[in-house]
C-alpha cells in the first residue's frame, strides 16, 4: 500500500541545502502498521510528511495504493492518505466547532450525506453528540485528539499517518488513544505509518519497525524482535537502552 523507493528530501537550495532524508526505501503492506523510530532530528517526521505530500521529495519515488505520487497531488490522491498530528492543541482551528472541522473535509472532497457522516465519525472515535458543537477550547487534550482522528477518517482514507499522536497526552489518555487507533485499524482495514520516539507506543500498534538516524534508515525489524532485543544496529541498541522501561504491554 505504501512503497518508498530511494526517497530523498532536501530543505533549502544549493550549497545551503540540508538533506533531511537520504534514500529511504521501505514498504508497508495493505492493513499493516509500520513504525518509524529515532531521535528528534533523525528525519522520521520528514519521511512522514513526504508520504503525506506536505513536502515535495527531491529524489526517489513515493507510491501509494499502486500509484506514484506526483509533486502536486489531485483531490482523489489527497483523499487516499490522511494524517493525525502530534499537538492536539495546534491541529484544530481555534475558531471552528468540531462540527465545522468535520464538515470542511466533506465539502472539499465533495462527499454527500454530511450529517450522517459527521455523527458516525464522532460515534466511532467515542465522542457523543454533546461534543459536536463545541469549540476546541471546550475539549480536553484527549478529546481533541479524537476529533483530529475523526477528521482524518471522515473522508475514508486507506492510509493513516500518525505523527507522535500520543506524545502530548498524559499516560492514561495515551493508552485510550492507542486502543482506539488499534480498533479503527482493524475495523477499517487501515494501513498505518506511525512516527514516534517512544518504542513502547510503536510496539503497541506496529508490527514492523524502521529505525532512523541522521536521515537514514539504519535498521528494519519487527516489533517482536525489538521486544526480544534481537537487533543488529548499534543505534537501535542505544534506543532500546534509553527506553529502559520498554514494555510491549504499555
Amino acid at each position: 500500500m505504501i512503497r518508498l523507493d530511494g526517497v530523498t528530501v532536501r530543505y533549502g537550495h544549493g550549497r545551503h541545502a540540508i538533506v533531511a532524508a537520504h534514500g529511504i526505501s521501505f514498504s508497508v503492506a495493505r492493513g499493516a502498521a509500520y513504525g518509524l523510530v529515532g531521535e528528534s532530528g533523525s528525519g522520521k517526521s520528514t519521511v512522514l510528511r513526504a508520504v503525506a505530500g506536505l513536502i515535495a521529495h527531491a529524489g526517489g519515488r513515493v507510491e501509494l495504493a499502486g500509484q506514484a505520487m506526483p509533486a502536486n497531488r489531485t483531490r482523489p490522491q489527497r483523499r487516499l492518505v490522511q494524517m493525525v498530528f502530534q499537538d492536539p492543541y495546534g491541529s484544530l482551528h481555534p475558531n471552528q466547532t468540531v462540527d465545522q472541522a468535520l464538515a470542511s473535509p466533506l465539502r472539499v472532497q465533495g462527499l454527500d450525506g454530511g450529517e450522517a457522516r459527521i455523527a458516525a465519525a464522532l460515534r466511532e472515535v467515542g465522542l457523543g453528540t454533546e461534543h459536536r458543537f463545541r469549540f476546541p477550547h471546550q475539549l480536553s487534550g484527549g478529546q481533541r485528539q479524537r476529533v483530529a482522528i475523526a477528521r482524518a477518517l471522515i473522508v475514508a482514507p486507506r492510509i493513516l499517518l500518525l505523527d507522535e499522536p500520543t506524545s502530548a497526552l498524559d499516560v492514561s489518555v495515551q493508552a485510550e488513544i492507542l486502543n482506539l487507533l488499534t480498533r479503527l485499524r482493524r475495523e477499517h482495514g487501515l494501513t498505518m505509518l506511525m512516527v514516534s520516539h517512544d518504542l513502547a507506543v510503536i510496539a503497541h500498534l506496529c508490527e514492523h519497525v524502521g529505525v532512523m538516524q541522521h536521515g537514514r534508515l539504519v535498521e528494519q525489524t519487527t516489533a517482536d524482535a525489538l521486544a526480544a532485543g534481537a537487533v543488529s544496529h548499534d543505534h537501535t541498541r542505544d534506543l532500546l537502552l534509553s527506553n529502559a522501561s520498554f514494555d510491549r504491554r504499555v
Binding site: 503525506a52 505530500g53 506536505l54 497531488r73 489531485t74 483531490r75 489527497r78 483523499r79 492518505v81 490522511q82 494524517m83 498530528f85 502530534q86 499537538d87 495546534g90 491541529s91 484544530l92 482551528h93 481555534p94 475558531n95 466547532t97 462540527d99 465545522q100 472541522a101 470542511s104 473535509p105 472539499v108 472532497q109 453528540t129 454533546e130 461534543h131 458543537f133 463545541r134 469549540f135 477550547h137 471546550q138 483530529a148 477528521r151 482524518a152 473522508v155
Partner: protein, 295 residues
Amino acid sequence: MRAWLLDPAPASRRQARCGRWFRAWLGFSSNGLAMTGLAIVVALVLIAVCAPLIAGSRAATLQSLGDRLQPASRAHWFGTDELGRDIFARTVFGARITLTIVALVGAIVVPVGLVIGLPAGYFGGAVDAVLMRLTDIFLAFPRLVLALAFAAALGPGIDNAVVAIALTTWPPYARLARAETLTHRHAEFVQAAVLQGASRTSILFRQILPLCLPSVLIRLTLDMAGIIITAAGLGFLGLGAQPPAPEWGAMVASGRQVLLNQWWVATIPGIAIFVTSVGFNLLGDGLRDVADARG
C-alpha cells in the same frame, strides 16, 4: 436564555456561535472603560441617524445674521457661530460627516490591507517581496502630508479626504495581516486542510482570514481616533468637507478667529472630536482585552 447560551454542550451550530458571542460579551461588559467607549460610539451613531429629529432638518445650515456669535441660551444650547448658525445643530449633523468618513476609510483600509497582507504572508518569496516593498513605499510617506498633497491635487471634498486618508492608513493593516498569516500558515490545522485537498484560496479565506480578522478590526477601532483627527485636520485646513457642511474640523477652523471673545464657537466641535476619539479608543482597548483573554 442565559443557560441556553452558556451551555457547555450546545446542540446546534447556531447555539454554539451565540454562546461564543455571549461569552465574549460577558467579558467585554465587565470592563467599565470599554462599556463607556461602546456607549459613546453607540450614542454617536444614534445621534447621527436621528440628527433631523434632534436638531431639525435644516437647522445646521440655517443662517441668521442677526443672531451672530450668541452665547449659549435656551434657543441655542451651544450658542451660534459667525453666521448665526446654531452650533448644537451643526455639531449633531457633524456626527454624520465624521461617521461617514470613518466608515468609508474602514471599508477601504481593511479589505486592501487583507488583500495585500494575506498573500504576502502565505505565499512568501517573490509575492511577499513585491507586496511588502509596495507597502513600505506607502509607509514611508508622512501621513498628513501625503493626505494633504492628495487632497490638494484632487481638489478638496469629503470623498477625496477619504481616499487620501485611506491611502496613508492601509500599510500597517497589510503588515498586521501578513504577520498574523505568518504565525498561522504552518499551523497543523492548515496542513490538515492541505491534506484534505483544500485549495490555497480556500485555506487563505476559510482558515487564515478568520484568525487575522479580530486583530485587524481591533486595530481599526484603535485607529478610528486618528482617522477622525486627520479628517478634522484636513477640514481645519480647508481640504476636507466644504462649507456650509458642518464638519467638526472646519467648525474649529472658523471659530479660530473669535477664539478669545466667543470661545464656544471653536471649543464645542473640539470637544465633540475629543469625546468621539476617546470613545473609539476605549472601545478598541476593550475589544483587544476580550480578544486576548480568549486567545
